[in-house]
C-alpha cells in the first residue's frame, strides 16, 4: 500500500504492523465488524430492506409505511399502524427482501408456548431474552453502541489528556507542580461510585455518559505525555526551534509531539478495551445506558438473574462477544506496540 505524504518512519511502522499477521487480521476483523454494525439496520431489523408491491418500490428501513399501503390490517382492525413486513413476506403478497436477521432489538416475541426467555432455534439464532427480544440483534446493536462509546471516549479523553500532559511536560515548573497535585487528587476519586451517583440522578444517554466517563479517563495518558515531553524538551531540535522564535504551542504540537506519540498509540487500544468493559460494567449494574437500549452488560445482567440461570444463552452470548472483541483489540494493541516500539530497540530489560 503506497501512502504518499507520510514520512518514512511512519511508513516503516505501518509496514511492521502489517507484518504481524495476528494483529493485522484482528484489526481487519474489527474494522469489518464495526462497519457491519454501523449498518445494523440493514442486518437485523423487522423492517424490510426492499419491498416491491403492486408495481411500486419501497425502501422501508428508515421510513414509516403503514399497513394500508400494503393492504394489511392488524388484529384490532387498524390499518394505520406500521406494516408487518414479515407477514407480508410470508403471505407472498409482495416481493420482500428482509434483513439477514428479521427481528429488531426492541420488539418482544410472544408467539412461543413457553414464556420468554426462549432457547435458540432457527428463527432466533441465539434465542430470546427475558422479554422475548432477539439476542443476536441486541448483540449487534450493542456492539455498535459499545464501539461508538469507546471511540468517542478515547478521542475525548486522549485529546484532553495529551494536551494537558504535554503542557505539564513542556512548561514544567509551577504549572507542572500544581497540575500534578490536582491530577493526583482527582485520580483518587472512586470513579465507579461517582458515575453511579451521577447516572442515578438524571437520565443519561451516550453523550452524557461519554462526558462523565471522560472526566476520569483523561488522567491516564497525562503521565506518559508528561514524561515524553520532558525527555524531548532536552533535545537539540527543540532548542533549535526555540532559537528561531517558534511559539511554545508550535514547538509542542508541530515538533515535539510527533516524537511522543508512542505511548499514546500503544495505549489507545487498551483504553478502548477499558471503555468497552467499563460501559458493560455500568450497564450490568443498571447505571449505564437507559432501557431499552441494547447493551451487552444489560444482557449479562439478565443472564445472571436467578430466574434466568437455566437460560445459558443469555449469559454466554454477550460473554462470548465481549471476550472475542477484547481479545481482538488486545492483539491489535500488542501489534501496534510492537510496530511503534519494537523489542529490538527496547531500552528496558
Amino acid at each position: 500500500m503506497r501512502l504518499p505524504g507520510l514520512d518514512p518512519i511512519t511508513k516503516k511502522r505501518l509496514q511492521r504492523f502489517r507484518r504481524i499477521k495476528r494483529g493485522y487480521y484482528s484489526f481487519l476483523t474489527l474494522v469489518i465488524l464495526f462497519i457491519i454494525s454501523l449498518f445494523s439496520e440493514f442486518v437485523a431489523n423487522d423492517r424490510a430492506i426492499f419491498v416491491q408491491h403492486e408495481g411500486k418500490m419501497y425502501f422501508p428501513t428508515f421510513r414509516y409505511h403503514d399497513m394500508a399501503t400494503f393492504g394489511q390490517e392488524d388484529e384490532y382492525g387498524f390499518n394505520d399502524v406500521e406494516a408487518n413486513y414479515r407477514a407480508l413476506k410470508d403471505e407472498k403478497k409482495a416481493f420482500v427482501i428482509m434483513p439477514l436477521i428479521p427481528f429488531d432489538p426492541y420488539e418482544p416475541d410472544f408467539t412461543y408456548d413457553e414464556p420468554p426467555p426462549n432457547r435458540p432455534d432457527r428463527y432466533h439464532w441465539l434465542g430470546t431474552d427475558g422479554q422475548g427480544r432477539d439476542v443476536l440483534a441486541r448483540l449487534l446493536y450493542g456492539f455498535r453502541i459499545s464501539m461508538i462509546f469507546a471511540l468517542c471516549l478515547v478521542i475525548v479523553s486522549q485529546t484532553t489528556g495529551t494536551i494537558i500532559g504535554s503542557l505539564q511536560g513542556y512548561k514544567g515548573g509551577t504549572f507542572d507542580l500544581l497540575s500534578q497535585r490536582f491530577v493526583e487528587i482527582w485520580s483518587s476519586l472512586p470513579f465507579l461510585f461517582v458515575v453511579i451517583i451521577l447516572a442515578s440522578m438524571f437520565r443519561v444517554n451516550v453523550i452524557v455518559l461519554v462526558l462523565i466517563y471522560a472526566l476520569f479517563q483523561w488522567i491516564g495518558i497525562t503521565y506518559f505525555m508528561r514524561t515524553e515531553m520532558y525527555r524531548e524538551k532536552t533535545r537539540e531540535y527543540c532548542l533549535a526551534a526555540q532559537s528561531y522564535g517558534a511559539s511554545g504551542w508550535r514547538i509542542m504540537f508541530r515538533h515535539l509531539l510527533p516524537n511522543c506519540i508512542t505511548p499514546l498509540v500503544t495505549l489507545t487500544p487498551f483504553t478502548i478495551v477499558g471503555a468497552i468493559f467499563g460501559l458493560t460494567a455500568l450497564d450490568f449494574l443498571g447505571y449505564g445506558l437507559p432501557p431499552p437500549t441494547p447493551s451487552w452488560g444489560e444482557l449479562i445482567g439478565q443472564g445472571l438473574q436467578s430466574d434466568n440461570r437455566d437460560s445459558v444463552w443469555l449469559s454466554i452470548s454477550p460473554f462470548g462477544a465481549i471476550s472475542f472483541t477484547l481479545i481482538l483489540v488486545t492483539f491489535v494493541g500488542e501489534s501496534v506496540r510492537e510496530a511503534f516500539d519494537p523489542k529490538q530497540y527496547a531500552r528496558y530489560k
Partner: protein, 604 residues
C-alpha cells in the same frame, strides 16, 4: 387557728382528696367484650419445632427505636412482644379481647376504659398491670428511645393514659374517632425492667426481652439463628381466645442471606415452611417431595387490603391535563399481555383504589384493553394525525409523548413491553429508570409526568392524604397526582367524620367511582394469595390462614404433628410415598371465586 380547727380542716381535706380519687365511678360502666374469640383450630396438637428463615440477622430485639422494624420484627411482635389491649379478629373483623378482657368506649369517641386480664404475667413471673401500659406511653414519648415515629405518634394520638387501679386502664385520645379501639390501642412494656435513659438503645440491643407472650428468645447465634422457646405453662394457656394458637414448642429462625438459597434449605429440611415469591419458580418447580406427598404445595387465597400499585399520572402536567388522554392510556394498557407472557398468568388485575376492602366499589368495571376506545379518546384529546414515526400528534405538532419515571429495575421488562404496545397504538412512552429513592422523591415533589407508584394501606384507608385538595398547594405529600375536586373533597370528609357507617360506605364507593372516572391511576396487578410449600409435619386449620393473613409471622395458627413428623422421617428413609392431596388452591373465603367473576365481567 386552734388545734381543733386545724384537725377538722385536715380531716375535711383528707376526705376531699380521698373522694376525688374515687371520682371515677367504674361501677356504672357497661363493659363490652366479644365471645367469638376463637382464631385457631382448638384441635391443634402441641409440640414440635417450626423452622423458618429471615434474610438478615436482626440488629436488635427491641420493639421500638432504630432498626427495630426489620424482617425479624414479625416474629418478635406476634409471638412475643406486641400484645395489645384488644385485637381485631383476623377473620370476622370484630374486636376481641387480647390483654384486656373487657373495654368500654365512651360516647365522646376518644375515651376508652380497659379491664385487664389479671392472670397476665411477664416472662419473669411478675404481673402485667395497668402501670405497664402507662409506662409504654411514657417511654414512647422519650427522646432516649431514638424513635421519632413513636414520639410523634404518641403526641398526635394520645391525650393521656392513666392507671385507675392495678387492672383498670383509661386511655383518652386527642380527637373524636369513629374507630377509637383502632386508633387508641396500646401494648405493655415492663416498667420494672427498662430504665429509659441515655444509651437505652445500645444497652437493650440484643438483650433478651421480658415479654408478655408465650415465646421467649432462648438462643442467639450471632449471624446464624435465633431460637424462640415456648414457655409452658403460660398464663394464656387454656383461655378460649388462645386456643389453637402458639402450638409449637420451638421456633427456629435461620438466617439465610441469599433468598434463592432458602429454597435449597427447604428441600434439605432445614426449613419446614417456605413462602414462594415469584411466579416463575412456582410454575417451574419440579420437586420429587411434592409428587411423593412429603411436601404440600398450596396457593392460599386471602383477603387483605392491597393498597395501590400502578401507573400514576400527574394531572397538572400535559398531556395528562386532558382526561381524554388519560383515558386513552387506560384503554391502551394490555394487562393480559404482561400477565400471560411474563408472569405465567399468575396474577389478577386490580380495579379499585381501595382494593381488598369493604370500601371497594363492587360495581366498578375495569377499563380493560380496548385499542378502538383508546383511539377515540386520543382524537378527543386532539391527537388526530399519525406522524412519520408512527406517533400521533395534534394539529399544532404536539406529539403524544411522555416520560415514565420508575425506580425498580425489576419492572423494566414489564414496562418495556408496555412501551412497545403503546408505540404500536401511537403513543410514545420514554422510560426513565432512576434510583429507587430518587424516583420516590420525584413523585412526592410532582416532578414527573407519569410514574410507577406503590403504596401499602392499613385496614382503614386514608383517602384524605391521597385525594383531597388540602394537599394540592403543597408538595412532599401523598397526593402525588395533584387531584382534588370539591365533590370528592366532600365525600372524603364524610368518610373521615360521619358517625353513620352506611353513609361512610356510600361516600367511599362514590369516591372510588369518581377516581376511576378521572382516570389518573392505572391499577396493575395484585396477588391476593400466598404460595407456600411446607413439609407434611406442619399442619394448618382447614382454611390454612385467617382471612386477613399477610405473613406467616403474623399468623399463630400452625402446629407440628409429631406423629406425622415420625411418619415423614420413615417415608423419607424408605422412599415411600404418602397420600398426595392434588389440591393446590385453597379458597376458604371465596376470594378466588369472586376474583374470577369480576374478571369475566371484563370480557363483557
Amino acid at each position: 387557728m386552734t388545734r381543733f380547727t386545724f384537725l377538722l380542716s385536715a380531716v375535711v381535706l383528707c376526705l376531699f382528696t380521698v373522694s376525688s380519687v374515687q371520682a371515677e365511678d367504674l361501677s356504672q360502666i357497661e363493659w363490652e367484650t366479644s365471645a367469638n374469640v376463637l382464631i385457631g383450630d382448638p384441635n391443634a396438637k402441641q409440640g414440635g419445632t417450626f423452622r423458618t428463615w429471615i434474610n438478615a440477622y436482626p440488629l436488635t430485639f427491641r420493639l421500638v427505636g432504630p432498626d427495630s422494624n426489620d424482617g425479624f420484627s414479625g416474629w418478635k411482635r406476634s409471638f412475643s412482644q406486641d400484645f395489645t389491649l384488644a385485637q381485631m379478629h383476623p377473620t370476622t373483623d370484630e374486636w376481641i379481647p387480647l390483654m384486656a378482657t373487657h373495654w368500654k368506649t365512651m360516647p365522646d369517641g376518644k375515651t376508652i376504659y380497659f379491664k385487664l386480664d389479671p392472670d397476665a404475667t411477664w416472662s419473669d413471673g411478675k404481673p402485667i398491670t395497668a402501670s405497664d401500659y402507662v409506662f409504654t406511653w411514657e417511654m414512647c414519648q422519650s427522646p432516649h428511645i431514638v424513635d421519632p415515629f413513636y414520639n410523634q405518634y404518641m403526641l398526635d394520638y394520645y391525650e393521656s393514659v392513666e392507671a385507675l387501679d392495678t387492672y383498670t386502664l383509661k386511655i383518652v385520645g386527642k380527637q373524636k374517632s369513629w374507630r377509637p379501639l383502632y386508633e387508641y390501642n396500646l401494648w405493655p412494656m415492663p416498667r420494672h425492667v427498662h430504665d429509659i435513659k441515655d444509651g437505652w438503645v445500645k444497652d437493650m440491643n440484643l438483650v433478651t426481652p421480658t415479654v408478655p407472650g408465650p415465646y421467649v428468645i432462648t438462643e442467639q447465634q450471632q449471624g446464624k439463628k435465633v431460637v424462640f422457646e415456648r414457655t409452658r405453662p403460660w398464663w394464656g394457656d387454656g383461655k378460649e381466645r388462645f386456643k389453637g394458637l402458639f402450638n409449637v414448642d420451638k421456633i427456629d429462625v435461620l438466617v439465610v442471606l441469599d433468598t434463592d438459597k432458602a429454597y435449597d434449605h427447604f428441600v434439605k429440611g432445614d426449613i419446614n415452611f417456605l413462602r414462594m415469591t415469584t411466579a416463575k419458580t412456582w410454575a417451574e418447580m419440579d420437586l420429587e417431595a411434592v409428587d411423593k406427598g412429603w411436601v404440600q404445595k398450596k396457593r392460599i387465597f386471602v383477603d387483605y387490603p392491597q393498597g395501590m400499585y400502578g401507573f400514576a399520572m400527574n394531572v397538572q402536567k400535559p398531556p395528562f391535563t386532558d382526561v381524554n388522554f388519560r383515558k386513552a392510556l387506560q384503554y391502551s394498557l394490555d394487562f393480559d399481555e404482561i400477565n400471560d407472557n411474563l408472569m405465567y398468568s399468575a396474577y389478577f388485575r386490580m380495579v379499585s383504589a381501595f382494593e381488598g376492602m369493604i370500601y371497594e366499589n363492587p360495581d366498578l368495571k375495569p377499563y380493560g384493553f380496548d385499542p378502538k376506545k383508546a383511539r377515540e379518546h386520543l382524537s378527543l384529546a386532539g391527537f388526530t394525525k399519525r406522524g412519520k414515526d408512527g406517533i400521533f400528534a395534534k394539529e399544532d405538532g404536539t406529539r403524544a409523548s411522555f416520560s415514565f419515571t420508575y425506580g425498580s429495575p425489576g419492572l423494566t421488562r414489564h414496562v418495556t413491553v408496555v412501551k412497545q404496545k403503546f408505540k404500536r397504538l401511537g403513543i410514545e412512552m420514554e422510560l426513565d429508570l432512576l434510583e429507587g429513592g430518587t424516583a420516590f422523591k420525584k413523585g412526592l415533589e410532582r416532578d414527573y409526568q407519569c410514574m410507577l407508584m406503590s403504596r401499602t394501606t392499613n385496614f382503614f384507608p386514608g383517602p384524605h392524604q391521597y385525594f383531597h385538595s388540602d394537599f394540592l398547594p403543597t408538595t412532599n405529600n401523598n397526593n402525588i397526582w395533584a387531584y382534588g375536586t370539591p365533590e370528592t373533597d366532600k365525600l372524603i370528609d364524610v368518610y373521615r367524620f360521619d358517625e353513620d357507617a352506611d353513609a361512610r360506605l356510600k361516600a367511599m364507593h362514590e369516591l372510588d367511582a369518581a377516581i376511576q372516572d378521572a382516570a389518573f391511576y392505572i391499577p396493575l396487578w395484585q396477588a391476593p394469595f400466598v404460595r407456600v410449600l411446607h413439609w407434611n409435619d406442619v399442619q394448618f386449620p382447614r382454611g390454612y390462614f385467617p382471612k386477613r393473613f399477610q405473613r406467616i409471622e403474623n399468623s399463630q395458627v400452625f402446629w407440628i404433628d409429631t406423629d406425622k413428623e415420625a411418619e415423614l422421617m420413615a417415608a423419607k428413609k424408605s422412599g415411600k410415598s404418602l397420600t398426595v392431596d392434588g389440591v393446590v388452591d385453597v379458597d376458604a373465603y371465596g376470594i378466588k371465586a369472586a376474583m374470577e367473576k369480576s374478571m369475566s365481567s371484563l370480557s363483557n
